[in-house]
């Protein structure tokens, strides 16, 4: 899929980069990060204009994020009716609200694999849209400048950058899951202790 898209980016330029980043932000697994790094390299090689590519790509990504936030927002009532009585759902909502801003910001560029669930949860949990936009725009700027910039810097060697960044993102995701697991374990142990003291 990625290689087919790379050929089309060469042929159709910045508008296609914008469309790919839009579709990627909606959750389609089309390798948006790979295309972004390649677009940076193509700009360095004179195939694309970096200013217009960065701008159109940014607009595409923001539109996609807005739409996926909207999907979460309009599914809010359904989720509330379906899971509202569940303590796990309420806990998840509360813990998301506590760190929603950093979650939105870092999932734009560092842990991109969980960007879509984050958008849906943000929309579905009633998180303020203006706040979401603030963190979303900041994160997308970092994503485009960092990934596109590295592609630009390394030019024809951009595949090295892509290979490293995709694996590094997976590593960070693993650490986040591990850290969350440990946090839950500690919380669970505390609750067990409290329950024992209460029962005793």
């Amino acid at each position: 899929m990625s290689t087919f898209l790379l050929t089309q980016v060469i042929n159709f330029g910045a508008p296609l980069v914008g469309l790919i980043l839009f579709l990627g932000a909606l959750g389609l697994p089309i390798g948006a990060s790979v295309v972004l790094i390649a677009a940076g390299a193509f700009s360095q090689q004179g195939i694309l204009n970096w200013q217009s590519t960065a701008l159109i790509g940014f607009v595409g990504a923001i539109l996609g994020d807005t739409l996926s936030f909207g999907m979460g927002y309009y599914a809010k009532d359904w989720a509330q009716n379906r899971f509202g009585k569940s303590a796990a759902w309420r806990n998840a909502r509360e813990s998301f609200m506590k760190s929603a801003g950093p979650a939105v910001f870092f999932t734009r560029w560092l842990v991109t694999a969980i960007a879509i669930p984050t958008n849906l949860i943000a929309g579905g949990s009633g998180y303020k849209f203006s706040r979401f936009m603030l963190y979303d725009i900041s994160g997308e700027i970092v994503w485009i400048l960092l990934y596109g910039g590295l592609g630009y810097l390394f030019g024809s060697q951009w595949e090295l950058v892509s290979d490293f960044l995709s694996n590094f993102g997976g590593l960070i995701l693993g650490l986040v899951i591990f850290g969350y697991g440990i946090r839950r374990a500690l919380k669970w142990q505390r609750q067990v202790k409290t329950n024992k003291i209460g029962a005793g």
Partner: protein
Amino acid sequence: MPSRTSPQQRSLVFGLIFIGILFTAFFGMRAFHAFRKFNGHRPPPPNKFETDVELIRDWMTVPFISRMYQVSPEIIFEALSISPQKDHNKSLKELNDEYYPNKNGYVLELVKQTVSANLPPPTPGSAPTESLPPTAPAP
């Protein structure tokens, strides 16, 4: 926490920790190997054309390769015995599938040879870029 949820809680916690360790180990190794490939490779100097033909991939088009290596597209199309008017937007893979369906990878190899044989002479200060092992884009 009610005691009846404890087994579920325990499974969830162990599951998260296990998946976290698995992801960290798998992607950590891959990231480490990817990082090692950087060793000895620096960004190519700006405004210098490419000279390493091993960077040619089958998703590239002839005009793109032509621009990257400063080799005329007519020379490449002529070597492939293909019309430049009709097929300038097609990737090397598409050209191979269309014109040489029984010769897997033929177009890619022929383009590499043609480009290598027709590279412009180096100008003072234009050091050739370092050769890299072929890599595929991440999925």
